[in-house]
Symmetry: C2
Subunit: 104 residues, 2 copies
C-alpha cells in the first residue's frame, strides 16, 4: 500500500497543532459537549471557539450533531487521543534527554 501523502498528514497534524484545540479535544475526551459548555470551561471567546471547532470538524477530527440550538461534538476516531498521548510522551522523553545532557 502506498503511504498517505505528506500533505494530508500535515493537514491533520496542523489541525491538532494548537494549544486551545488540544484543550478542546481533552475536554471532549472527558465528555462530549457543545461549544456552549466548552467555551466557558476553557475561557474562550465565542467566535474564536467557533472557528476552532470548524477547523476540527473540517479536518474530520470531530463530528457535530445538532440538538436543538446546540451542537454536540464527539470524536470521530478515538485514535486521535493515541496521537495526542504519543505527542505527550515524545515531549516528556525529549525533555529527559535534555536534562541528561546538562548532567554530563
Amino acid at each position: 500500500m502506498p503511504a498517505i501523502s505528506a500533505k494530508l498528514r500535515a493537514d491533520i497534524l496542523s489541525a491538532l497543532a494548537h494549544p486551545n484545540r488540544i484543550r478542546i479535544l481533552e475536554a471532549i475526551r472527558r465528555s462530549p459537549a457543545c461549544s456552549c459548555e466548552i467555551g466557558p470551561e476553557l475561557n474562550l471567546e465565542q467566535s474564536n471557539l467557533s472557528r476552532h471547532m470548524k477547523i476540527l470538524v473540517n479536518s474530520g477530527i470531530l463530528i457535530p450533531q445538532r440538538d436543538g440550538v446546540r451542537i454536540n461534538y464527539s470524536i470521530a476516531d478515538d485514535e486521535i487521543y493515541k496521537l495526542l498521548d504519543l505527542a505527550g510522551e515524545l515531549v516528556r522523553k525529549s525533555a529527559e534527554r535534555s536534562i541528561q545532557e546538562v548532567e554530563i
Copy 2:
C-alpha cells in the same frame, strides 16, 4: 502524573505539521543522511531546507552530528514514526468515513 501541557504538545505537532518536514523525516527513516543528500532528493532550496532542519532539531525531533563539512541527522526517538504512521491511519479512516457518507 500530570498531563503534558497543551502548549508543549502543540509545539512538537507544529514542528511535524509541514509536508516537507514530513518528507524529510521519511527520507531519514529510510536512512540517516545530511541535508546535502536530502536537498536534491526532495528538490528543496538549500536555505529553505536548512531552516526546516533547524526546526526539527530545535524541537528535539532530530539529532545533528557533524562529520567534516556535513551534518548528519538521525531521529531522536523512533516513536516519531509511530506518530506519523498514526496520522496516516487517521487520514485514511477519515477518508473512508467520507466515502461511506456519499454512499448513503
